[in-house]
Each structure stands twice: as C-alpha cells, then as structure tokens.
Amino acid sequence: MRKTVLEAVGLHRAYGGVQAVDQVSFTLAEGGALGIVGESGSGKTTTARIVVGLERADAGRVLVHGQDRTEHRRGRAHRLARARQVQMVFQDPYLSLDPRTTVEAVLRETLRLHFPGADHPRRIAELLDQVGLGPREAGALPRQLSGGQRQRVAIARALAVEPAVLVLDEAVAALDVSVQAQILNLLADIREQTGIGYLFITHDLGVVRCVTEDVIVMRQGRIVESGRTAEVLAAPQHPYTRLLLDSVPRPGWDPKAIAVARRSM
C-alpha cells in the first residue's frame, strides 16, 4: 500500500444558495494519479481551488502528508512551504503567464523565490529538457509560443517548485489531439521519474483512461461514484456515470436521446 500524499476530508463550499462543493472527500496516493470527471458546474474547479488554497472551504480539511493545509499560518515562509506542497496548471496558460517575461526568466524567478542560492541555470536547463523545450523557446515570450508550448512552460514552472502534488484543471482541453498526446506522454514520464502525484480534472473520458489510476465522478457538488479508472469506465455503477459514458461521441451516437436522459435525471 502506497502512502497517502493528499487527503480531502468533507469539503463544503456554498455560493449564495448554490452548494458548489458538498461533502467531498478523497485521497491521492504518493506518485498516484486521481481523475475528477463530471458535469459542468459540478464543483470540480472549486474543489481544485480549495485544494490549492485559492479558495476557502466552508467546512472540511485538506491534508498533505497528513498535515493540514487549510489552517492558514501567516508569513512568507509558510506561504512558500504551502506552494511547494501543491501546484496548479490551468486550462489556458496564456492567462497565467506574464506576457513580458521570457520562459527562462519565468523559471528563474520561481527558483529564486523558492530555492535561493541554488544552481539555477542547471536546474532551468533540466526543467526545459523535462518538458521538451529547447534553447530557442527558452528566450521566447509567451505570445511567441504555441498553445502546447505555453502549456509546457506552465508545467515546467509548476515542477520547478518540486511540489508533492500537481493539480491540472482541464490542462489539455484546449490543445489539439497531437499536441495533447505529447503532453499526456510527458506527464506520464514525469510522474514515473519524480513520483509526483496528479489530481487531474478533465471532461475527456479518453484522457482520464489514459493518465489516471483512480477516478471520482462528480455531479451537483457531490461525488456520485469513485474507484479504479479502468473499472469505473468498464462497468459504471451510478446512472450518471453511465450517462457520461453513453455521451462519448461514437458512430451511431444519438445526442437527442442523451439530452432527454440527462434532463430526466
């Protein structure tokens, strides 16, 4: 049995009258990959933001290596230590990268902040190599890069901090399939090499099958099903999970029947 790196216990978050996240609990094993799939508006992003610390939970706790992240201790050192536990990669890296900073400078700033005094040029080269970017891209500004390259930069920046957990929220959704395949292979390699754990949010059940070991299915703020990814996808137990699987486009696919089934649920 592998050790648990991340544990969420009874997370709740309401906005006005909407229970965005309702009694959500899960664990992620060290070096494991846990997928979150579910309806849009079901609370996946809110859950991720609570885990990262970008959003406060009304109730519940997030533990990393058994230590509570949600009890906020003030001060720069604690803030940096929290950042080293969990990093996040968003759907659109363009919005999270400074348009005036080159790729190399982004990594240098992050490393200076977290590891003052270390040998940065070597580590920068290592990170760029890890995500498959060359010296040409190192000197480029975000707008001079393709979407897939920008997503690699965002991943490299997150990895620079050497986090225990990487949270990816629709991180490959905007990429075309060929670039997506490169990034998914890259993520698999990195997990193998570093033992980092992934919390992987996606709408794409093919992607979930490809990169995760376990999966939770969310609907209206709640977890409706969870288990080994291969088993959940092969033999879904909850009607909503079955609906999701039936919704995957394929020959003979009937969107009207799915729409009717969805509304009657």
């Binding site: 309806e39 849009s40 075309d176 399939v177 670039v179 997506q180 059940l205 490809c210 092969a234 919704s247």
Partner: protein
C-alpha cells in the same frame, strides 16, 4: 444557394514568410454540418472568422468568402454589421474571453437585437433561448464570473441563436463542456438545423465528435485543406498520413491506458517559406518528391467526393479507429 462558399482563399499577415491560409476551398450548404479539424495554429479559427469578415489587422486577402452569395471580403461596414447580427453568428472557443465580465448576461444576450425588437420582447427571447440551452431565466441577471465555464458557454450559444442565423460558425463550442452537456448542445444545434435549415461549420479537435456529428469533414494543416470527404469514409480510411496520425493520437475511454502515438515534431512556423509538402518533415511516408513538390488536393476515389493532398495517398492504410 450554398450558404457558405469559400473559394481559392488566401490570407497573408504582416511579417510572415508564407500565407497563413494558402488557397482554401470550403463549402457548407443549408442544413449541412461540416467539421473543420486540424492542428493548433493551422488556420481553423482564421477560416471561420473570415466568414464574418473578422480579419486580423494588416491582413491581405485573395479569393472569395461568400455567405448566401455575397462576398464578405468586399462588404461595407453596414453590410458587415447586418451580417454579424443576422445572417451569420459565431460561437467562440473561450466564453470567458468573449463575454464582458462587467455586464449582466441579460445585456450581453440582447445587445445584438437593440433597435430591432422592443426591450421586453428581446428579454423574452433571451429567456427562451436560455431555456433552449438548458439554463434558467435567472441567469439573465447574473454576471459571467458567477457561472462555471460550461454554463457560460451555453449562454454564448443562446446569444448566437438570438438573431435567427442562416449560418452558425462554431469554434470549439463544446471544448469547455462535459460530454453529456456536449451531447445536449449538439442535439440543440441539430434541432435548430432541422427547424430553420441552418448551415453549421463546426471547428473541433475532437475527431470522435467530428465523425459523429458531421456530414462532411475538412482536415487542415499549415493553412491548407489536406483532406476532405464524407465523415464516415474519411475516418474509416484516412487517405492523408496527417489524418491517420491524428486518429492514432486520440485517447479513447475503451483503450488500454499507457502511451499515445503522438506525432513528433511540430507544424511549420509562419516565418519560414515552405517548399514541398508542409507535413513532410513529420511524415512517416515522406520521400524525396514530398520535400520538393507540394501535392495538390486531388480526388482519391473516383466514385466519391474524397480528396487528399498527398503524393502517397494510395499508401495511407486503413485505420482501426
């Protein structure tokens, strides 16, 4: 009349060494769903935006882009405005970037109808369209930041339906949605096509979705159509190695986990002029001929409307996808 007819369309941008669209031919008939797929940066969005006359600054064009017979490229400002609020509507890739975060969604939905409908009637229609996309009328009073990405995309689709368009240009409209909401949106677009005969150009990088929803498919690479044909035939037996590679790199829920067959390398930069086939440097079938001479888009099977731009289309094998 063909609803959208793009002919020998070339688009040049400043400071580039080659045209970003290099001779695109594409049609969409009334009631037809046409999918446009291809690599990021290949020119899909530029192509679909051109149908609304939305061109990057400094762009130079050749060829024609006709909507209901009228060439968009020569329209006056007034004609373009009428086109964009009536005949043609666009659903963009990223709803957060396309909707002003500081305005109520009710105002976003009714803005195109200002002057054409009384305020009350416009609001009523907005509520009707929200219902059609599965959202409550209370959304009218909310701000974009209060909705999830998927909900906001449905608002955007409701917005596109407001003016009863003859042509809908949908640029990755379901990328932000879960698969069951995606099915609902597709059902909705289907229904509209049946009722109003709307023509739909659907840009997507989901080949499974393209196969399931479209009548015909165009595959784009480096600003060119490299393969086109009826969806089923094209995906069952791709005749361009790029189409075959795209199919092979698609992850599937019923496939075993593990590494995907990614296409190594990347598409040519706009700063380099091209000689030969633009896919040759990444192509497993490339020969000397491919590096020297650009293949034309030619019929590959006498009896059907299938065309591919490949010197070796006869060697591109069946795909089990």
């Amino acid at each position: 009349m063909t609803t959208l007819a793009i002919q020998a369309y070339r688009l040049h941008l400043p400071n580039t060494a080659r045209p970003v669209l290099a001779g695109v031919d594409l049609t969409v008939e009334a009631r037809e769903t046409v999918a446009l797929v291809g690599e990021s940066g290949s020119g899909k969005s530029l192509t679909s935006r051109s149908a609304l006359g939305l061109l990057p600054t400094g762009a130079g064009t050749e060829g024609t882009v006709r909507v209901n017979g009228d060439d968009v490229l020569t329209m006056t400002g007034d004609q373009l405005r009428a086109l964009r609020t009536g005949t043609a509507a666009m659903i963009f890739q990223d709803p957060r970037a396309a909707i002003n975060p500081l305005r109520r969604l009710g105002d976003f939905l009714t803005e195109g109808l200002n002057g054409r409908l009384a305020a009350g009637a416009a609001t009523e229609r907005a509520a009707e369209m929200l219902d059609a996309v599965g959202l409550p009328a209370s959304v009218l009073g909310r701000y974009p930041g209060q909705l999830s990405g998927g909900m906001l995309q449905r608002v955007m689709i409701a917005g596109a339906l407001m003016g009863d368009p003859a042509l809908i240009l949908a640029d990755e409209p379901t990328t932000a949605l879960d698969v069951s909401s995606q099915a609902e949106v597709v059902a909705l677009l289907d229904d509209l096509q049946e009722r109003f005969g709307t023509a739909l150009l659907f840009v997507t990088h989901d080949l499974g979705l393209a196969a399931a929803i479209s009548d015909r498919v165009y595959v784009m690479y480096a600003g060119r159509i490299v393969e086109t044909g009826p969806a089923e035939a094209l995906f069952n037996r791709p005749r361009h190695p790029y189409t075959a590679a795209l199919l092979a790199s698609t992850p599937r829920p019923d496939a075993p986990g593990g590494r995907l067959a990614a296409i190594e390398g990347r598409p040519p930069s706009l700063r380099e002029a091209l000689t030969g086939c633009p896919f040759a440097p990444r192509c497993p079938l490339a020969t000397f001929l491919c590096t020297q001479q650009e293949p034309a888009l030619l019929a590959v099977e006498a009896e059907s409307a299938r065309r591919a731009a490949c010197h070796h289309s006869d060697r591109t094998g069946a795909n089990d996808g």
